[in-house]
Amino acid sequence: MSSPNQTDSLHPLEIQVLQALGTASTEALKEPELVQATALAASQVSMAVGWLLTKQLVHLVSEITTTYVALTDVGIQFQQAESPLEWILHMLQASSQDGQSTTVKDLQATGRFQPTELSRAFGLLKKEGVLSLGAGGSLHATGQKSAMAETLRQLLNEIHEGSRPLHSFSADQQVLLRQYAVKRGNTQEPFRIDDHTERAFALTPEGRNLLPNLREDAGQEISQLTPELLKDGSWRNHSFRKYSIHLRPPRLAVGRRHAYRDFLDTVKTKLTSMGFQEMRGELVETEFWDMDALFMPQFHPARAIHDVYFVKEPKHAKRIPEPFLSQVAETHKNGGGTGSKGWQYAYDPERAKRLVLRSQGTAVSARTLATNPPIPSKFFSIARCFRYDNVDATHATDFFQVEGIVLGSDINFRTLLGLLKLFATEMAQAKEIRFLPAYFPFTEPSVEMHVRHPKLGWMELGGAGLFRSEVTVPLGVTVPVIAWGLGLDRMAMVALGIQDIRDLFTSDLEAVRNMRRQL
């Protein structure tokens, strides 16, 4: 840490602390002693000591935590006037001399002390046998002296001289002090008990070595070059304080992309570079495009109320475009012209109009198929989707699906595997891949791709397949179509150092500012 010109970079405050320690009669100085020796503010001393500790020019010699008792503003009042105990006894004495009886109510009515404060005092005095309760709630002094009131008075007076360590009091006194000390919920107490840590510091050998070289003109240096100094050239007459460049710099609030969105930006850039065109859809979708067009029968278990969010109002779309509605309906009923036997059930065109929150990105692909897309073509979407799920660390209620389609007369099972292999290298830098049979209602054959990510190990990267003819033909597409989807959230979470899927969309600004990609 120590360098030849280290003295140059010392802050004036640091120099003053070093000098104080170097000239002291004892080796170590406590913080208050340092404050006295340097004539600096306590906060300045503690700041300078902090820097010097980092630079290892001073070291911590001792650290002693002591519990101190001090008077609060209430305590000072008690000390100067009377404590509630003393006051009650006085009041009773005065009234009995007048031959009158005094009740609790009378005392409360004076408003001198809080009712709770008074009841506590009554309790204590009654327990001591100093006062008794007579008929009609009248209070009487028994004539006995209150040891408690006397102890309290003694404590008030002693502590008024200056705060004292708690341990310097007797055990009985400590109990009383704690009883009358400020606690959470009651700040109207005479005593305050606080922990004070007293630290003592001394020079390290390096710090001592610097002493002869310390500048005397520490206060005369310039810390900041100003336009004025430049304009009149007076900077030439000054020296500039050197910075301690090892210290942590102040924090900045800056403009930045969201790290998860930035991850998705990389994905979309990759996909466009591979020749994919972006497609977009609507958040509110009809069951027709979300499911029917994807050959999911209307009785499919995943279409139930417990899987999809339905829209409250309106419940149905005005219309489903033709000829798609009729063609899809026929396909569900008996296969239509697709070479399939269909699902063999009574298709309900009203159900097709039911509105849902888009439950799968494939709905966007279905809509694209119906737009008479050019052949060959490739599309992708990064679509917000919604599922009826209890939100927890692994389930989100709205999330992104990255998926798309590839249309072409050369498409078949092996080109499907080829595309997936390309994704594995491009998206996950994976060289090892496994293809496993899978099931999706809208593809056949269907495949699941597992890849070995260089950092994450084996993971499922996505699912894909060839769209069933029952999907493509009713929408007017006669060439084979690859449908693919990538599950990138896990990769994103590892890249961002996130364990909980909810943190991808967190509203905690600190977390968002700290989030960064590490992969």
Partner: protein, 564 residues
Amino acid sequence: MPTISIFQQDFAQLLGQPASIPDIEQWLPWVKGELKDVNSDTGEVRVELQDTNRPDLWCVEGIARQIRAVLTGSLTPHSFFSTRGRAKRRIQVIPGMEHVRPYVAACTSVGYPMTVEGLAQCIQTQEKLAEAFGRQRETVSIGLYRLSSIAFPVTYGLVKPDEVRFTPLGFEEKMTPQEILTVHPKGLEYGNIVAGYERLPLLWDTDGQVLSFPPIINSRELGEVQIGDTDLLVEVTGTDLSMVILALNIFASNLADRGATIEPIDIVYPYETAMGKTVKTPLDMGNTQRVLFHAIEQALGMALGAEAIQTALTSYGYQVKATRQSVDVKLPAFRNDLMHVMDVAEDVAITRGYDSFSPIMPQTFTVGALSQQEQTSDQLRDLLVGFGFQEMFSNILASRHELVERMRLAGTEYESLVEVDNVMSQTYACLRPSILPCLLRVEALSPRVFYPHLLFEVGEVARVDKEANVGSRTVLALSAISAHPGANFSEMHSYLDLLMYYMVWPYDLEPVSHPSFLDGRVGRICCQGQVIGYIGEFHPEVLESWQIDMPTSGFEIEVTTRNT
């Protein structure tokens, strides 16, 4: 996707060969299964089955049967599907059933003494078939009975809700069907299926003993199968004939695989069904389908040749008869999932193993591009980041409280939202019509985070629009807020002005009143005669309702409309 429990020993026995866990893992792709969990103490293996069209695979017997076929190269069909003549036993269906629960299928199973594991598997299969395949018993439900106590013929008919009494499973006393619907847990769970009918379905034997009240509950006397029972009656009722028969076919095949002898039963209907008036069940409903070799080869992208295709399909359990150009294929009776030639092609690929197909890189050239919306969105994001704003990314679902009440919009023209009908949590019950509440939520949660807070988000929102086909429009919006002790209208106005300048979107501000903002410090942003958003200082009541102690101002503009 059902997940089931199988036991390693039981599985090996059904498979006819030892099966280690690595073996099972290696074979599971043939049934689209995934190993979820292994308990090495009990030998219990949890398997998730992906294919919702293959209910025959949702049981250990079916999984073992499919894997055995691939390992041995073929599947021997069960003989009970091809018995001749009338069956020994009969179930008579009574007129009127066609309006309530029209179909029944049944068979007997003799000679397999029920074991603890066998019974557990039977119950699991019964549940998976009735719940997932039979849509919570609505289309298919299954009953098992002790055959020895039943006197045939059995009648499948209707009774008045209080006409008969029998002891249901799980209870000690006799009850009427009506009582079962009101107090029995199964009656409460499934009663909606028979709700509204004057007379309820019942199965009873020739001595008048009740077998069950389908699809609710079995009778305890006849329908409580015990360990060691060798003679069983299996019955399936439901509303879809081919599903009812398929479920029985699966159940019968499972018991046969465990060593039972299956004897069919004649179901005699008073009405016509798709399979005739007398239907002997189990019944092989499969049709032979002709598939061109060429179609399979084209789909798979590989000239496999007729022999390889035949071998693969035979190994997967198909019955196969080849001609020169094509192959006539028939599925085993426990499957009914062949809809299209592609289904056959996939089975060929699965049998051969996906890894045996070498990937071909796509060759065709296509132009990649981002949508206009995404390009605009990226442009805006770049600018805002350059202005020093932190980008946020929020959930689109939020609560009405956040979107309306906290924004001081209740009872105003701005309060309509796209709301979810089947709400799971009020926190996620509405689509956001604006991003500003999402940014204020951040502000509310981050009071101790280093200031200033300059935040923005570009994203989708949903706005109610009665004219639109779906009653709302998905709109791309940009929102930005500034929160710090000196945040005010002028500061945000400067940012907006700069943004509109760089975007080349000439705009004007019109003074308006908006409940979320302070009067006199809010403006409507107009661009070429169109209102595209608002800018202003948030009303202190808005900030209070979010418990934000920091002055905050912001703006939001609709981006979608700018694309046209």
